[in-house]
Amino acid sequence: MASDYISRLFGASPVRPIQEHFAQATACAMVLEPFFDAAIAGDWQRAVEARERIIELEHAADDAKRKLRLALPNSLLMPVNRSDLLELLSMQDAIANQAKDISGLVTGRRMRIPDSLGKPYQEFLRCCLRAVVQAERSVGELDELFETGFRGKEVDVVMAMTEELDRIENESDELQVDLRSRLFQIERQLPPVDVMFLYQIIDWTGELGDLAHRVGSRLHLLISK
């Protein structure tokens, strides 16, 4: 009479929760675009509203992360390495944190981005966010990977997606180099402290692309356990 032991045998699948977490983290990072539109235009009221939205989504992602961690005890037999999964989760989470930090710094200092840098910066940001979206799309294939048992065609599909992610990340690196050199050319005309923080913002934005890229690498590791 061990009937319900068969159902207790199955732990909760981590797939949907990890995808939902990344959906939240990505949504959080995506708010950076309207945030910078407002900040560059000097509309601080709208920027602060966007910043609040970012904080809200970051908290939601945090909650999802905590819940998922609790649902992943040591005693689970999973087709993927538990530590790889937790690593993937913390990188996804770092993307939301990064978005919060960037928007926090810009709002806190009421930073003005010089007119000549506005357009290139927005292009750079969009490229980094494209990397995040591509990473989210790759993680979105996780349920298909679990379904196929990490074998066959689906693995190639995900590999192709992460290669595309590599390409986007390279592009964002180039844009970052270009942006830095533009800033370098005008840095003497600007207050030094502002310049320092502008470099900081460029770095942190580039970090978004890096994190997305590292999510892709973790996905590789998950597949080839």
Partner: protein, 416 residues
């Protein structure tokens, strides 16, 4: 033998009660994945389970019943005192029933098979002396408890691997599923029929011979496969469901082999587990009606019918609730996995039933699920639950044995 009628009635009542318990609880394992994936409704599941459990019990349940009845204790030792064997078998039934009731009250994962085998060994060894137990046979049974989950795990691994290779890993998994699923249906139908024909129905006096059995099994397998193909052809491609999860329709196609496998599981369960309830009944009835200990008499069909009826009764009164509960918790066993695990477990159980070895259907199914888990097929298996399930028989056997021995002493004091 003035008590003969009393003994027979008591045995029938205890046996019916245990069969009722098996029907109410254990059957859910076979039907739950199909209900969980909404391939069939709960009432359909209850009807399918009733038909196939009953068929399994009557057509293929004879061998295991014989083992429980006379494979474990040395009947020769009771030749001068047939009453003692009757008391022992009644004590075994009652102790297994009580132990199962207590265990399910506390939520322990206890196997009916292990309780009844432990009980029979217990009353014989402690009541009559260690030499009353056929230890070589008991050793074989214990070995089969280790071997059956391993075999089911290996089979499930292989089946799931073939599904990965032939269907899931393909460029067009849906087309591959439509092509191969009828063959998976065939495999389940062919294998179950074959084992039943070769091993199961011999005790009914039917012996078809090897080549006829193979031909008949292939024919039945083909017929089932063709029916399956018709159902598979009717499953439409659902773009909305596939947008989010690309394998939605593929899994829908796998519901057809899964339902066939659920039938096979119910059949296998009937063939193996009904013996737990009616084996001791068969022993009591044959001794009480003839007044002596026969070592060779066949199991009367009406006793198997009684067991089958008990299981159906359990299903009808209580089974639908259990199926619904388990079905909700078992969603990770998607149709492709449910097919692989179910076929591997059912194959192992029917094979064991054919050789007369009473194995635990639950343990076998757990072994099959673990096999798929090792093939990276299941998102999360709770290993702590796995270990409690496997440790449970280390506790169940001595518990059943002690209880049966105690009841045996009480019963013996009563009739003396």
């Amino acid at each position: 033998m003035e008590l003969a009628l009393v003994f027979i009635v008591l045995a029938a009542v205890f046996g019916l009660f245990m069969a009722w318990g098996i029907g109410a609880n254990d059957v859910a394992n076979a039907m739950a994945p199909s209900v969980g994936s909404r391939a069939i409704t709960i009432s359909q599941a209850v009807i399918i389970a009733a038909v196939f459990e009953f068929a399994g019990a009557v057509l293929a349940g004879g061998e295991v019943t014989s083992t429980i009845r006379r494979g474990i204790v040395d009947a020769a030792l009771f030749a001068n005192d047939p009453d003692l064997l009757i008391i022992g078998m009644l004590a075994s039934l009652l102790s297994a029933g009580i132990w199962l009731l207590v265990a399910s009250r506390f939520g322990w994962p206890v196997s009916t098979t292990h309780s009844i085998v432990g009980a029979v060994v217990g009353f014989a060894a402690m009541g009559m002396g260690v030499e009353a137990v056929k230890w070589s046979q008991v050793g074989q049974i214990a070995m089969s408890w280790v071997a059956s989950p391993l075999l089911a795990g290996g089979l499930a691994f292989a089946l799931f691997f073939s599904i990965q290779r032939l269907v899931l890993g393909r460029d067009d998994p849906l087309a591959a599923a439509r092509r191969w699923c009828p063959w998976y249906v065939f495999l389940a139908g062919f294998f179950m029929t074959l084992v039943t024909l070769l091993k199961g129905i011999v005790h009914l006096g039917v012996n078809l011979g090897t080549s006829t059995s193979y031909a008949l099994a292939a024919l039945i397998g083909l017929v089932v496969a063709l029916i399956g193909r018709v159902y598979i052809g009717r499953i439409p491609y659902d773009p909305a469901a596939n947008r989010d999860f690309h394998f939605a329709t593929v899994e829908r196609v796998f519901t057809v082999p899964m339902v066939v496998t659920a039938c096979a599981m119910a059949f296998a369960h009937g063939s193996n587990d009904v013996a737990n309830a009616v084996g001791p009944v068969a022993a009591v009835v044959s001794i009480a009606s003839s007044g002596e200990v026969h070592a060779t008499a066949v199991v009367s069909p009406w006793i198997l019918l009684l067991g089958g009826a008990g299981i159906v009764l359990g299903l009808a009164t209580y089974g639908h609730r259990v199926i619904a509960t388990v079905g909700q918790g078992i969603t990770q066993l998607t149709p492709s996995r449910g097919y692989a695990a179910g076929t591997a477990a059912a194959g192992t159980i029917v094979l064991a039933s054919g050789t007369g070895l009473p194995i635990s259907t639950t343990h076998t199914l757990v072994g099959a699920v673990l096999g798929i888990g090792l093939a990276r097929g299941i998102a999360a298996i709770n290993l702590r639950v796995v270990s409690t399930i496997f440790v449970s028989w280390l506790v169940t056997v001595p518990a059943g044995a002690l209880l049966a021995a105690a009841l045996f002493f009480v019963g013996r004091a009563l009739i003396r």
